[in-house]
């Protein structure tokens, strides 16, 4: 009599793949043989902490921060970070630089944009809070269901209803880099969610000390899965025994292996490149793609300076700038208190990211420096080194699709014919790291139930 080992493949070594592997190993009561395929030479996907070449100054090249919902209810990601023994650093910032003026609060808005703009902003804020309570906000993150009535149109229409142009421009600039798309391309829910995330009653922001990549490193260190780096999965098919066969290329060779279950944890852009040989599955995956493929874009320009010239004027972890249709500037060096380095990171989102992403790095750095307000122009002469990272088509502008599907259907595109193929991704929830953990929890819980309930012993 031998124990049956459930054989599972996870395609994608980003946060979704690693979280699924970690949770699956934790939840499964029977032994599992887990293989994790990653096409690139590194794990972590969109969580990427890097250093400059000239000096070991760290910066976030990918996901800038984590969202903390724990003031409302349980926050699984915050609990996971705690469970992994990682320390966090709270992040905050409320300043928006518009037309060379620094707007740090309502008094500044009133002074620079006028009384009418301040009133319109307060009115919009009230209506946003009325439309979505912190509990609704949490529920959206938890299940990505529509809490607002259907038929409200897009978020752009909601902004157009504000009859004060300065207030509209202020709101647009405030949320543009988080939204990563234009207001007319996203739902009212997602737009409001991105506006209300600035409100401390809804959520707070934090970073992981030592770099956000500590999360994926800690997950990778704790899983026993066979990790195959630089193994690009090209095809998923069904073998004669009803199992799923995964074909992967490594350097110049191609290999394949069969699995009881396969979890595809890829960003939507990479999912489109994966071939499914079974026509029924291929159709189901195409439907899945069509429903969820609403690409949004990020562009990150990070510059190392010889001193933090912006701090007297702009304290805090980040501030918003009205250039590039609204971008967020992170004081990357503030993530590590006491750091001697001075690093500013521009996070550009939406169509600006797509448009400017085509330019060469040198040109982007020049544009970024020119975007600094005149009060900070002095810093342009203090550049040591610069890096550019493009995340085009990397996230979803409309997480969950136009009408979010039931959670099970989101994670199993072909329940009838391929019940052993699952998908995991942030685009299935709210395009955040919290969302990808929700997705990973759902699939790992589901699969571990199957593993634990199935014939654990093979005669």
């Amino acid at each position: 009599m031998a124990m049956r080992t459930w054989k599972v493949a996870i395609i994608g070594g980003g946060p979704g793949g690693l979280m699924t592997a970690y949770l699956l190993e934790k939840l499964a009561a029977s032994p599992i043989d887990l293989t994790l395929y990653e096409a690139s030479h590194r794990l972590g996907g969109k969580i990427k902490t890097m250093s400059f070449g000239s000096t070991p100054a760290p910066y976030e090249a990918g996901a800038a921060e984590f969202y903390d919902y724990s003031s409302i209810d349980d926050d699984p990601l915050r609990l996971l970070v705690k469970e992994l023994g990682l320390s966090i650093h709270p992040m905050s910032g409320s300043a928006v630089v518009m037309d060379e003026g620094l707007l740090s609060n309502l008094d500044d808005v009133r002074e620079c944009l006028g009384d009418a703009a301040a009133r319109a902003l307060v009115a919009f804020d009230r209506s946003a809070q009325d439309a979505m309570s912190p509990r609704d906000f949490y529920a959206i993150g938890e299940s990505y269901r529509e809490v607002l009535p259907q038929g409200l149109g897009c978020f752009g229409e909601l902004l157009e209803a504000i009859d004060e142009p300065h207030a509209v421009r202020y709101i647009n600039r405030l949320i543009h880099s988080d939204l990563a798309t234009e207001p007319q391309n996203t739902s009212v829910s997602y737009g409001l969610q991105n506006y209300l995330m600035n409100h401390p009653a809804y959520m707070r922001l934090y970073a992981i000390e030592g770099g956000n990549e500590q999360l994926t490193l800690a997950l990778a260190a704790r899983i026993t899965a066979r990790i195959l780096l630089q193994h690009r999965v090209t095809c998923v098919s069904r073998d004669g025994a009803g199992r799923l066969r995964v074909e992967a290329t490594h350097t110049d060779s191609t290999g394949s292996d069969s699995f009881d279950s396969v979890i595809v944890a890829l960003p939507i852009e990479h999912l489109a490149a994966l071939h499914f040989s079974d026509p029924v599955l291929a159709q189901a995956m195409q439907r899945h793609l069509d429903h969820h493929n609403h690409p949004a874009h990020y562009l990150r320009i990070t510059i190392l300076f010889d001193h933090p010239f912006w701090r007297p004027m702009l304290p805090g972890s980040f501030f918003m700038l009205d250039r590039f249709d609204g971008c967020c500037l992170y004081d990357e060096s503030s993530r590590n208190p006491g750091s001697p380095h001075a690093v500013l990171g521009w996070l550009i989102g939406g169509s600006s990211a797509l448009q400017f992403g085509q330019l060469p790095d040198d040109e982007l750095v020049r544009l970024a420096l020119n975007s600094l307000p005149s009060q900070l122009a002095l810093g342009r002469g203090h550049v040591i080194e610069a890096r550019v990272h493009r995340w085009l088509h990397a996230v979803s502008a409309l997480p969950g699709g136009c009408t979010p599907l039931p959670i099970d259907r989101r994670h199993q595109p072909d329940l009838l014919h391929h019940p052993n193929l699952f998908v995991v991704g942030d685009y299935l929830f709210d395009s955040t790291l919290n969302g990808v953990l929700d997705s990973a929890e759902h699939v790992s819980g589901w699969l571990s139930d199957l593993i634990n309930a199935g014939p654990g012993v093979l005669l």
Binding site: S104, L106, D107, P200, P315
Partner: protein
């Protein structure tokens, strides 16, 4: 209901608005309703406390001298600067207001910082210095320096007074709780065993129990103000209030003092219960003896009657 600082930070009396020149203000936080001096703000905390300006509401030569003394690093002139002895006063604040038009001049002079820092008990109080969005404030218990643009200084002053009042209230509760520990150590055994020698301490225990309950009431009244939620969109005043609450750890200090009061309350509640049980038991004991004596007397009388009837 907790007032929204964005809308509630307005002076009760327009005549006590901040003047355009530098000046020193003596502010009294009091519950005395008989005080007729100008009220800067009222606190919505069930105690009916108000911030009262005890110095004149227009700058005079004395103000000029006081500002010059602070900036020169000298002691504050005495005459007219100290509030008279108040039978009802609770907390005092001396505030140096420095309206500043130049946005680049955000540094409070070191002499003024020194002045603010030297008020507290050595080794205990630390100066909190906050520079945010064009306003700079240095605060230590009892003293503060505020530098901001004239258009913003009024709302920032009110936010600062709001913080100073609740911080002073919390500190007074903390001090009272600290003073209670030696008594608690002596009284704690009575929560387990109460005997005849302890009967004389009943009123003392009752006073302490009432004192702890009063402190607990006050702590619970101010707690919502210590845990006030951040407002959105923020105003400069609300941002300053939040920074001060955060830097002086009001929320966690409030939690700690509540925990300490709970322990003290529990001990004195037990002491009260033991004392009450003891007194009831003693009365019952006395009653039993009285019954025994009466029964004995009745028995004697019966015996006497019996003997008399038998002609012995």
């Amino acid at each position: 209901m907790i007032p929204n600082p964005a809308t509630s930070f307005q002076s009760d009396d327009p005549s006590v608005a901040v003047p355009a020149t530098r000046r020193v203000e003596q502010i009294l936080f009091t519950t005395d309703r008989r005080d007729t001096r100008p009220v800067i703000m009222s606190f919505d905390d069930s105690s009916g406390s108000r911030a009262i300006l005890t110095t004149s509401d227009t700058p005079d030569a004395l103000d000029t001298a006081a500002v010059a003394a602070i900036l020169a690093g000298e002691a504050l002139p005495e005459a007219g600067r100290r509030p008279p002895e108040e039978p009802h006063y609770e907390h005092h604040l001396t505030l140096l207001l420095m309206p500043e038009i130049d946005p680049d001049a955000t540094q409070i002079p070191s002499s003024a910082l020194q002045w603010a820092a030297t008020n507290g008990r050595p080794g205990r109080e630390n100066l909190v210095l906050i520079a945010i969005h064009g306003a700079t404030i240095a605060w230590a218990p009892g003293r503060a320096v505020l530098m901001a643009h004239p258009s913003r200084i009024e709302s920032v002053r009110l936010a600062l007074l709001d913080f100073c009042f609740y911080e002073a209230e919390l500190r007074s509760i903390e001090d009272a709780v600290s003073l209670g520990w030696p008594n608690l150590k002596r009284d704690a055994p009575l929560a387990f065993e109460f005997d005849d020698r302890s009967v004389g301490r009943r009123s003392e225990l009752s006073t302490r129990f009432q004192r702890v309950v009063a402190l607990r009431c006050r702590a619970s009244q101010i707690m919502p103000h210590l845990n006030r939620p951040a407002i959105h969109p923020p105003t400069l005043a609300s941002q300053i209030g939040e920074r001060f609450r955060e830097r002086s750890r009001l929320e966690s200090r409030g939690d700690f003092v509540s925990d300490q009061l709970e322990i003290q309350e529990r001990v004195y509640e037990q002491c009260g219960q033991r004392a009450s049980d003891y007194m009831i038991a003693r009365k019952e004991n006395l009653l039993c003896w009285m019954v025994v004596v009466l029964l004995g007397a009745e028995l004697v009388l019966l015996l006497v009657g019996l003997l008399a009837s038998t002609g012995v």
